[in-house]
Amino acid sequence: MAATMRSISRRDEMSLAEPAALPVATSAAPRLHVLKRFSSRLKASLPAYFLLLPSLVFLALFTYGAMGRVLIDALYQRATPKAPVRFVGLDNISAVLTDPAFTGAVVNNLIYAIGTAVPSIGLALLFALALSRTHAVNSALRAALFLPVLIPMVAASALFLFIFLPNVGLLDYYIGRLLPVLPNWLGDPDIALYAIMIITVWKNAGYYMLFFLAGLQAVPEDVMEAAHLDGAGPYQRFRHIILPELKPTFLFVTVIAILNAVTQVDHVFVMTQGGPSNSTNLVLFYIYQQAVEHYDVGKASAATLLTLAALMGLTALSFRTMANREGGP
């Protein structure tokens, strides 16, 4: 009531100052204009939409459709095996959040994300700095460092399974002479997660090196030369020129590394199945266990939704990072 009163009174005020027809005309014209512009734009972009249609159909079928299904499944649960599924709202989500196995998997995943991102990025930067000049030897070394990226994770895991074999594996064969007790790399809950992390670092450092190599190409040569002439040493040039120039690359690679830490669990499947005693259980593997071993679609879907939300947050971050890179200094 009060709002209408006010609007009436305002219109009265306006009508006092200007002819009454004018505001109507100005408010109608843009709407018409917008409609017209929209339809003409649609006409112009219609072929584009038609061309996009096939991929849109497949995206809808295999990506958005599946996501919608997960969203629905996450809201349903059955109380006992023979009971029909019924709507339970957010019960599945809260069941996942109170499950110690899930919180354990989240903690493992955090340790895993930090423990793989930091060393692999550090190594990648080191490799990139060492091999930034292009000549035959460096190219060969770059190829050697990039090689692990080309090996599929499953194949790499199968290889490392033999390297980590207690007593008879490659690692124990060489390290065994130095240590008093041979560690059971994948069978000891204190060590297993770190053993898994070693593979990830080995596999990803070469990949991230590529980004840093590209980033180093963008460091302006004239600035470096000027710094050199001004008597800046190698450390000063690294600290004050190279590092600031590489900032967008750092951000981008960090996001990629964290995304990888959530989405790459092939080696967990092949090597430990989340064990021993859940010590290498990561979030994605937890979802697999809920869906397959527990046959609990509701809980698996709820955990998927939570992971999806976290991943989407990260993706948004990565888009912002990329935007920063384009508009950056």
Binding site: P166, P180, L182, V292, Y295
Partner: protein
């Protein structure tokens, strides 16, 4: 317009593709087409053996066209079977890990085979009578047949005979009790200072294997792992299992003759083959691998007892998933009967190292010949006299994992057996709760 011409081309292609997809479904004449899902749990060569088996079936049965679909591990096969049942297109037959049958029956995913047996004019007892009695427990649920045993195993004690002789032990008189086995393991362990260069014995512990070995040790200690008659109970917090886990832990921590931590099956067999472990407990399914790779004389023996001689079975059964059309069900039944016949059963056993579930297979001349050449394959069959069913409960895998996680903590010296088993029992009771709520605890 260029654009519209492209569109027409696209539409034409889409149309022809859709036609190609729908036409075979319309053509109803010809042989009944059925799919068989099969896992390869031991060796990649098996996929080829299965191919030749199915080819032979198709050549001898022109009315049926069976296709063998490789579906990965036992666990993967369960996933893919469940996914295809959900999608409304279940395979006609599946080779399914024998201890998944109960869980699938509880979830209404299995076809009751009784009517198919009755249609053949045989009785259930006659039909089951073909198979070793130890295998029937995992195939029969609530007195109805839900699975047909296809390839099976038991755990065995493998002994490096050369190392035994070196240590002054007679490999022809293998240890029969836990006490003797402990003595053997002590004598077979070699040390350099504190460092062990040769382990006396290795027992695998990874998800799946660990639960099976716990059942083995518990049974030879007089116990039962689970309630064979009802899928809602397991017996983790019991004296027989406490004794079993304590002995296993003593081998690691007290006698220091068993490598510490949880070691998966392939690592144990590699350790045995390389001479790093002088004895191991492993499935009969590994016998072919050991026979082909061991560069030393080896012996296989029964699992030693503390209270009684008893072992669980392992392996897989053929099942027909629920929701199958009648004609395909019939075709699948023909395939299943053919695959489990004495001749085929024996052939598969010789190719894989599993034993043949059909007792008549051991009377075929090929099998008699094979056993004369490989007397070690006989031990597994003889041990069947004391074998019992593989644990199967509601949600078999999570209930098993509840125990395995705790056993792994014990073998790593992080928990004592008593408190570990109490924790395992509590966790398993929680997992079994929904099933008990609608069975044993649903009261009038």
């Amino acid at each position: 317009m260029l654009f519209s011409r492209r569109l027409m081309l696209g539409l034409a292609m889409a149309g022809s593709m859709a036609g190609a997809l729908t036409f075979p479904a319309l053509a109803g004449e010809g042989p009944t087409e059925i799919d068989l899902f099969f896992p390869v749990p031991v060796d990649g060569k098996l996929a080829r053996d299965m191919g030749s088996l199915i080819k032979e079936f198709n050549e001898t049965h022109p009315a049926i066209k069976a296709t063998a679909v490789y579906t990965g591990s036992y666990d993967d096969t369960l996933i893919k079977t469940r996914a295809s049942i959900k999608a409304g297109k279940p395979p006609a037959a599946v080779i399914m890990s024998a201890n998944f049958l109960l869980d699938m029956q509880i979830e209404n995913e299995l076809t009751n085979l009784d009517p198919l047996i009755a249609a053949d004019g045989t009785t259930k007892d006659q039909f089951l009578g073909q198979f070793f009695p130890a295998l029937q427990g995992n195939a029969v649920i609530n007195r109805s047949v839900y699975g047909v045993p296809f390839h099976n195993s038991t755990p065995l004690l493998y002994i490096n005979a050369d190392k035994a002789k070196e240590a002054g032990l007679d490999p022809n008189k293998p240890p029969q009790t836990w006490a003797e086995l402990t003595e053997w393991a002590k004598k077979l362990t070699r040390r350099e200072g504190d460092k062990v260069t040769q382990w006396g014995i290795a027992i695998p512990c990874a998800y799946d294997y660990c639960g099976w070995m716990m059942e083995t040790l518990t049974m030879s200690n007089g116990g039962r792992y689970y309630n064979e008659e009802f899928g809602g109970e397991v017996y983790y917090d019991t004296p027989s299992m406490l004794g079993a886990l304590t002995w296993w832990n003593d081998l690691v921590a007290k006698h220091k003759v068993h490598p510490p931590g949880a070691t998966p099956g392939p690592a144990v067999s590699t350790s045995f083959i390389s001479g790093n472990a002088a004895m191991m407990m492993l499935s009969t399914g590994s016998l072919t691998y050991v026979r082909d790779n061991a560069k030393f004389a080896y012996k296989v023996a029964f699992i030693p007892r503390n209270v009684r001689n008893a072992v669980p079975i392992g392996g897989a059964s053929l099942i027909v998933p629920a929701g199958q059309e009648a004609d395909k069900q019939k075709a699948a039944w023909t395939l299943i009967k053919w695959m489990t016949s004495p001749e085929k059963s024996g052939w598969w056993s010789r190719a894989t190292g599993y034993f043949a579930p059909n007792m008549a297979a051991y009377k075929t001349p090929e099998m008699v010949d094979f056993l004369n050449k490989n007397p070690d394959a006989k031990t597994a069959v003889e041990q069947l006299d004391v074998a019992k069913p593989w644990f199967a409960t509601y949600k078999t895998v999570p209930v098993r994992k509840n125990l395995e996680d705790e056993v792994m903590l014990v073998l790593n010296g992080k928990k004592q057996p008593k408190e570990a088993l109490a924790a395992a029992q509590k966790a398993a009771d929680e997992t079994l709760k929904p099933y008990n709520a609608e069975t044993s605890l649903k009261l009038p």
